[in-house]
Symmetry: C2
Subunit: 146 residues, 2 copies
Amino acid sequence: MAPATLHRQVETRLNAKDIRYTTGRRAVVTTLAESDGPRSAAELSAKIGANVPLSSLYRTLTVLEAADVITPHFATKGLARYELAEWLTGHHHHLVCIECGTVEDIEVPPLYEQQVAALVETIAATSSFTASNHDLEIEGTCEQCS
Amino acid sequence: MAPATLHRQVETRLNAKDIRYTTGRRAVVTTLAESDGPRSAAELSAKIGANVPLSSLYRTLTVLEAADVITPHFATKGLARYELAEWLTGHHHHLVCIECGTVEDIEVPPLYEQQVAALVETIAATSSFTASNHDLEIEGTCEQCS
DNA sequence: TTCCTTGCAAACGATTTGCATTGGA
DNA sequence: TCCAATGCAAATCGTTTGCAAGGAA
């Protein structure tokens, strides 16, 4: 999605909830849009530069998550990583490096996605669990670490 | 797996690495074997009772993880949950409740498992990422929370 | 002016570590 | 006996919160 379009969509979403789309929030959205996978508060801070205090960053993340603009991800120990919500990026899955912990987004071909969706349907039909979403985590070693 | 068999397998594995299979370690393995999903240190502590200090529990978890007897899981914010490694339990996936955070194991029918395996193969073939395992997280609402 | 937002510092909760003690082979 | 394992207390790390200052409508 073009950055201008992205920001317009986010702004509309935030305005609908009477939340301002401030510079700091815009910076987080921009940075996540440029990333190819979820990023932690520390990673965002480093990339944004302009030494924003971490407490402000965390507050920004809380606000954006509550507005469903970003989604948290917890594939690695001890810290949360965030990415733009799927209504902004499209549905995707994750490659998780078991060495360095970085996470990369992947899209899977439609045929496979249908199979996974069918699997989730099947599970839902045979249990009392109400499924709303799914995420396939492929664990392994990234190029850097191998 | 029968408890006796389980403990024998774990003991063999630990002995091979010159690690003792102590009462505390045995208690963690027993408790995880009785659980239907990954459990946190606090949950294990509560279930084991016998007020074991958390620091000892964490050390036990570290040792068992290093010996590949247990595997950490991070689907929810702020804390790690552990489960017996798949060579002891068999391959499975997870239902994650987005309300209360609890995680439950599920086995998926072989046909679907083959499809997922094929998907992972395909991804591996088209990227420089070396896949070693995968985990499908189905997010939704558990019976309690719905 | 009136709230929302931000910055700073202190507080928190999960986890880790140093060190002295205990216990099993 | 001797080193691994444990308990306790203090330290660490990511994250959250109270409160006062800054900023946009």
